[in-house]
């Protein structure tokens, strides 16, 4: 080793090993810790005060000054709760920028408005220790950070942590630490953990919060969560409530015991709101486990859009439906509810709704899903307000009820358009009136693998339904497999759908509308099927009457060549199948009911108009001639 390197090594050791001398000033129960080299000339005035840096200390309030070996890190305020009291240490460089008031274990800090980038910069407040009647309140006008280093704080006077600072607060939950917050019951605070500005959760520690007056966690502006584990064990209102938006990048969020929604995001509904004030929930990762029991409550409620690209949502809502006497409409629970649009490109969803009218996904705008795995289950009945009585499982005829007076359980319910570009769906709506997927406008399936088992309709669109690709499998108990009030266009994909007995159908186009088959590999069974009615439908099909059984293999053969094969879904119940009814142009019944078995429509891209094919169901073979329009294969024709 040459001489230069040796000297460098020694110097480096000297530098690294140098200790920081400090001057610690104890005043009014607070320790102000200065690095010795930063104290400079400390001047006394009139035997009454001493000025250190920019802070003036009244000597009558100074208990002692001690020289130590270690100064507090710059820009930090450390608060250690010790049940009835606290130890507070303020870094000397910010001593003049914080005004601290102590009342037992209640700590209130007013951060000076002079805190800024060009003065001392951001201040970090480090909280740790335990108190069963302590809290922390912070005001200010410049961003700040709060670090939790193992904090167990129960407030008997307001919020546990109350951040009255309208700027960004970074809440760093230190990795490896467990932290618990609980607020006072019956107070006026909005939440156990409240932030007047925007709140950013960071780091991999664990934070458990209970809201005994309002929400557990609330921010007046947005909330972002990265890496942190957040547990809400109970709240009078929401588990997490914020405005502007919620962004979950990663971490774990577990919420249960709420009196309202698990997570709700709102926005300011006026013209001058900021661009980021969208009411959007965005999930880019992490795992959310949400268990909601409150009536008509939601697991995830966005007043704006819901966007998800990655992560897991396991949500159960078991609240019953309610009657809103003010707005005169029924309200039902939902796992995911968006007043705006929903856009999902990835993630895993396990959604269960068990109350009357409960829904897996409910969207007021449009829905677009291009990826993700969805398991959606509802078993609540139809919610209906009839003659002044709210029914959780109304079994009477609801057709004539005003739509505000009823709410059927649905796997996916959308007021706008539904577009499925990908993803895997397993939807089961078990309870009375349950529909798999409903749009008040159009349904377009471009890709994806969709399996629906519905009490009533499998899919239901108020306008047209387009099937352009992917794989759609539907069985129903008492409804149509694919029901559209407009046309049904099948242009591609693989479709295996079985509707219920007559008058329910496999394909059911709207009155005055028709089905157009221009592609796809199709098996459609049910009490009837809408049949193509004009030359715009270009792919031939066969249609016949056939009894089906769950699990049966169905094949269509051109001589010895198999054009396509299907398996009747295991969920299919033959008890639902009886008289098939073919619906012709205009949607009117073709009037061939009275026979037994299903209407069975099969179409493949290779079928040729006028050619005869063999349809094999189990061991039974039947021949049928392909056609482009109409259908006359059933009895009565």
């Amino acid at each position: 080793m040459n001489k230069s390197l040796v000297i460098l090594a020694v110097m480096a050791a000297v530098s690294a090993g140098a200790s920081a001398q400090s001057l610690n000033v104890s005043s009014n129960g607070i320790t102000y810790s200065y690095a010795a080299e930063n104290t400079g000339l400390m001047t006394f005035t009139g035997g009454e005060t001493v000025t250190i840096g920019q802070r003036v200390y009244n000597l009558a309030e100074v208990a002692v000054m001690k020289v130590g070996d270690e100064a507090a890190a710059d820009n930090t305020v450390t608060i250690e709760y010790k049940e009835d009291a606290v130890d507070v240490t303020v870094a000397g460089n910010i001593a003049s920028y914080v005004d601290i008031t102590l009342n037992g274990a209640e700590v209130s800090i007013a951060q000076s408005d002079e805190v800024a980038d060009d003065t001392c910069g951001e201040i970090t407040y480090i909280l740790k220790g335990e108190s069963s009647h302590g809290n922390f309140k912070l005001s200010g006008s410049y961003k700040s950070s709060i670090e939790l280093h193992g904090l167990f704080l129960t407030s008997t006077n307001g919020a546990a942590i109350d951040i009255q600072n309208g700027k960004r607060t970074a809440l760093r939950v230190q990795e490896g630490t467990v932290n618990t917050l609980s607020d006072a019951a019956g107070g006026s605070q909005k939440a156990a953990l409240y932030c007047k500005g925007h709140l950013e959760f960071k780091q991999k520690g664990s934070l458990t919060v209970t809201g005994n007056t309002g929400h557990a966690i609330s921010a007046k502006e947005y909330i972002e969560i990265k890496n942190t584990t957040i547990n809400v064990t109970g709240a009078v209102k929401d588990g997490i409530n914020c405005n502007q938006y919620l962004l979950v990048e990663s971490g774990n969020i577990n919420i249960s015991g709420t009196g309202d929604d698990a997570i709700q995001v709102a926005f300011k509904d006026d013209a001058d709101r900021e661009a980021e004030d969208t009411g959007t929930i965005t999930i880019k990762g992490g795992t959310l486990i949400l268990d909601v029991t409150a009536p008509a409550a939601k697991a995830l409620k966005a007043d704006g859009d819901f966007v998800m690209t990655k992560g897991t949502v396991n949500a159960t809502v078991s609240g019953i439906g309610t009657w809103d006497s003010t707005n005169k409409k029924t309200k039902a629970a939902a796992c995911i509810s968006a007043d705006g649009n929903l856009d999902i490109s990835g993630g895993t969803f396990n959604l269960t709704a068990t109350g009357g009218g409960g829904k897996g996904i409910s969207v007021n705008g449009n829905l677009n899903i291009s990826g993700g795995e969805f398991t959606i289950y509802t078993n609540g009945g139809r919610l209906a307000y009839v003659n002044g009585t709210l029914n959780q499982n109304y079994t009477g005829n609801a057709d004539n009820l005003n739509s505000d007076y009823k709410s059927s359980p649905k796997g996916i319910k959308v007021d706008g358009d539904i577009v499925i570009d990908g993803g895997e769906f397993d939807i089961w709506t078990k309870g009375g009136g349950g529909e798999g997927m409903e749009s008040k406008k159009t349904i377009t399936i471009n890709d994806g693998k969709i399996s629906i088992r519905a009490y009533e309709d499998g899919t239901n669109s108020s306008s047209h339904t387009y099937i352009k690709g992917g794989e759609l499998t539907v069985t129903t108990g008492t409804g149509d497999a694919v029901d559209a009030n407009g046309n049904i266009y099948v242009e591609g994909g693989r479709v295996t759908i079985i509707g219920a007995a007559s008058p329910e159908q496999g394909f059911d186009a709207g009155d005055g509308f028709a089905i157009y088959i221009t592609g796809g590999t199709i098996l459609a069974g049910g009490g009837g099927n809408s049949a193509p009615s004009n030359s715009a439908s270009t792919q031939a099909y066969v249609i016949l009457t056939q009894t089906l059984t769950a699990g049966a293999a169905v094949a269509v053969l051109d001589g010895e060549t198999e054009l396509a094969s299907f398996t009747i879904p295991a969920a299919y119940s033959s008890a639902s199948a009886s008289a098939p009814v073919m619906r012709g142009p205009g949607g009117g019944n073709w009037g061939w009911g009275g026979g037994s078995g299903n209407s069975l429509l099969i179409s493949t891209p290779d079928m040729v108009n006028g050619r005869t094919y063999t349809v094999k169901v189990g061991n039974t073979s039947t021949t049928a001639t392909a056609r482009l329009t109409g259908g006359s294969t059933g009895p009565g024709h």
Binding site: I7, V14, S15, M42, V64
Partner: protein, 133 residues
């Protein structure tokens, strides 16, 4: 060589910035300066009196006569930058003040002493605290 000089400067500057003090200096209104060792130093204010005490000494001053205080090194103990290639004879002491002998260079010191903290004293009175890991 230029890089080496820059690196050395980078290490020395923060070292100087964190130079350790050995005393607290009080200036009184009569112009006098009073020093007290800062090891274990506590300063309190009561009965119009400043009391500064460590394990060995207690200094009391009337508060109305205290003008200022500051960390300092008592006269004759300033630290200065060590020149490269310094070949002056240097004395090395343990942290407890026991002389470990004379050396011609820091290299010699590093090669000879065990791990620990040492004080190096140059012939002109300059001192340097060393840590060998």
């Amino acid at each position: 060589m230029k890089k080496f000089a820059l690196a050395l400067g980078g290490m020395l500057l923060p070292m100087l910035a964190m130079a350790e003090y050995n005393s607290m200096q009080f200036e009184s209104s009569d112009g006098g300066n009073h020093y007290i060792d800062i090891s274990g130093l506590e300063i309190s204010f009561a009965d119009h009196t400043l009391t500064a005490s460590n394990a060995e000494t207690t200094l009391t001053l009337p508060l109305n006569q205290v003008v200022s205080m500051q960390f300092s090194n008592s006269p004759g103990s300033e630290v200065k930058i060590v020149e490269m290639g310094n070949t002056d004879a240097i004395e090395v002491y343990s942290a407890s003040g026991i002389s470990l002998g004379s050396y011609k260079s820091l290299t010699e010191v590093r090669n000879d002493v065990p791990s620990g903290i040492f004080v190096v004293r140059y012939s002109d009175g300059t001192t340097l605290k060393l840590l060998k890991k």
